[in-house]
Amino acid sequence: MPEGNEAVIVAPGVQLARNFFREVGSLFWFVAHTLNETTERLQSGRLPFRAASFFRHTQRAGVDSVPLVSLVSFFLGLTMALLTGYQLQRFGTERLIPGLVSIAFTRELGPLITGIMLAARIGAAFTAELGTMQVSEEVEAIEAMGIGPLRFLVAPRMLALFFLMPCLSTISNIAAIFATSLVSRAYFSIAFVYFLDLVRDALLIRDIITGVLKSFLFALLIGAIACYRGLSVRGGAAGVGIATTSSVVTAVTTVIGFDTLYNIVYIVFYPT
C-alpha cells in the first residue's frame, strides 16, 4: 500500500483517539474542579449549595423516578422469571428461578437498568437545563457575581444522583423479585414463603454490596457526564439538542462499559 493511503486511513483513527482522550481528560478536570470548589467552600465554613436546591434535585432524580424504575423492573422481572422458568422446568429445576433472578438483579440488572433509565430521564434533563442556562448566559452571570458555578450548579445535582441511585437500584431489585414471586406462584407452584427461603439461601451479602457499589459508581458517571455536557454547550438551541443526545448516548455507553469492566475485575479477583 502506498504511504499516502496509510496516512488517509490512520489519520481519522488518530484524530478519534485524540478527541476521546481529550474528552476523558476534560471530564476528569471537570469532576476535580467541582470537588475543589465544593471543598474550598466547605473549608470557609459555608454550605456549597442550598439544602433546598439539593432536595429539589433528589425529588426530581429520586422520588419522581420511582414509578418508572419499579414498573420497568417489575416487567423485566416477570419476563425473566417466565423465560428462565420454562427452560428450567424441562430439567425439573424450576426452584432455581428465585435465586437466579434475585442474584441477577441485585448484582447486575438492578443497578444497570436503573443507571440506563436515570441516564435517559435525569441525565438528559440535567444537560438540557444546564445547557440552556449556558446559552442564555445565566452560568456566566453566576460566575461574574463571584459564585463558583460548579459548586453551585453541579455539586447538588451530582450529590442528589449519588445518594438516590442506590435507593432506586434497591427499589428496582425489590420490584423484580416481587414480580418473580408472582410468576413462581402462578406458573411454577412455588409458595411465597418457600420463595423467600430460596431467595435468602441464594443471595449473598457480597451480591448486595456489589450492586450498591455499582450504583454509586454509575451515579457519579451519569451526573458528571450530564453536567459536563450541559456546561460545554455552544451554539444556541441546536447546541443544547446535540449536547442532550450526546449526554444520553455517552452516559448509557459509559455505564454499560464500566459495568463490564467492574464484572471482569470482580471475577478476576473474587472468582466463585
Binding site: 474550598e40 442550598r50 440552556t132 442556562m133 442564555s136 448566559e137 445565566e138 456566566e140 452571570a141 453566576i142 460566575e143 461574574a144 457575581m145 463571584g146 459564585i147 463558583g148 453551585f152
Partner: protein
C-alpha cells in the same frame, strides 16, 4: 500582583484572538474613578470581549488587565472570585436565572456571598427594587417580565453588593426609545448616587451620548479615539466621523463585502 494604580480599570496592550480571528490588537485603556465610559464600535468589534476580560471570564492572548491594584490576568481563582464581588455586570439579555423569581434573583449574591440574615436580605432587595421602580414585581418570574423590566432587575442585581465598578453590555439594545431612555436615566442616577465607576458598551448613539462622561471608539482591535462627549463629536478621525454619521462612505466599510455590494 499589585501596582501603584489610581485607575479603576486599566488595559495594557491587550491582544485577544479567537482561533483565527483577531478581536483585540493591542488595546490600551484607562478608566478613572467615577467615569461613565462608553465604548463604541461596530457589532463584533470586541466591545463585549473587553467586559468579559475585565471580569476574568476570558483570558487575553497577551497583555495585562488591572482592576484597581489587582492584575486580573494573574489572579488565582479564589481571589478572582473575591474581586468579582466588587464588579457588577448587566448583560445584554439580562441573564436572570429563569428558575428563580425576581426577589430570589436579586437576593442570590447576598445569600451566597454574605452572612446577612434573611430579614436583612429582604430589606436590601426591597431597597434595590425600589431604586429601579420594580417593588411590585418581586414575586414575578423572569419569563413574566418585559425586556425593560428584566434590564431593571438585572441592574438591581448588579448593584446589590454595592460594587465599585458596573459593566453594562448594550443596556438599551432591543428596547423601545422611551424605555431605553428610562434605563439610561436609571444608569445615570444610580451610578451618580452610589459614586460607582461604569463602563457601558453600546452602539446606540443617543444612549451613548446621554450616559457617557467619556467616550472611546474601538476599531480593528484598537482604541482609536478617547475623549469627552463634546470633543468626541467633533473628532476629525474619519472612522469616528463615519460611525457617528452612519454614512456608508468612509473607511469602515472599505474592502468589505458590504462596500463592494454598494458600489
Amino acid at each position: 500582583m499589585s501596582t501603584q494604580n489610581t485607575d479603576v480599570v486599566e488595559l495594557r496592550d491587550v491582544h485577544m484572538q479567537f482561533e483565527e480571528k483577531k478581536v483585540l490588537d493591542g488595546t490600551s485603556l484607562e478608566v478613572h474613578p467615577e467615569d461613565r465610559l462608553v465604548i463604541m464600535g461596530q457589532s463584533g468589534s470586541g466591545k463585549s470581549t473587553i467586559l468579559r476580560l475585565i471580569l476574568g471570564i476570558l483570558q487575553p492572548t497577551s497583555g495585562s488587565i488591572f482592576f484597581k491594584q489587582f492584575e486580573i490576568t494573574r489572579l488565582k481563582r479564589r481571589k478572582l472570585q473575591q474581586v468579582r464581588r466588587s464588579i457588577g455586570m448587566v448583560y445584554q439579555y439580562s441573564a436572570l436565572l429563569s428558575s428563580r423569581n425576581v426577589r430570589d434573583n436579586i437576593a442570590l449574591p447576598l445569600e451566597e456571598l454574605t452572612d446577612k440574615s434573611p430579614d436583612e436580605i429582604d430589606q436590601i432587595v426591597d431597597q434595590k427594587l425600589e431604586l429601579v421602580g420594580m417593588k411590585d414585581s418581586k414575586d414575578l418570574m423572569p419569563s413574566e417580565l418585559s425586556g425593560g423590566m428584566r434590564k431593571r432587575v438585572s441592574l438591581a442585581r448588579a448593584l446589590v453588593l454595592e460594587p465599585e465598578l458596573v459593566l453594562f453590555d448594550e443596556p438599551s439594545a432591543g428596547l423601545d426609545p422611551v424605555i431605553a431612555s428610562v434605563i439610561d436615566e436609571l444608569i445615570i442616577n444610580l451610578t451618580e448616587k452610589s459614586q460607582v465607576t461604569s463602563i457601558i458598551v453600546t452602539h446606540e448613539m443617543g444612549s451613548a451620548f446621554r450616559i457617557g462622561t467619556r467616550m472611546a471608539m474601538l476599531y480593528q482591535g484598537k482604541i482609536i479615539e478617547d475623549a469627552a462627549p463634546e470633543e468626541f463629536k467633533r473628532s476629525t478621525n474619519p472612522v469616528v466621523s463615519q460611525f457617528l454619521s452612519g454614512s456608508t462612505e468612509g473607511p469602515i466599510l472599505e474592502g468589505t463585502q458590504d462596500a463592494i455590494a454598494t458600489k
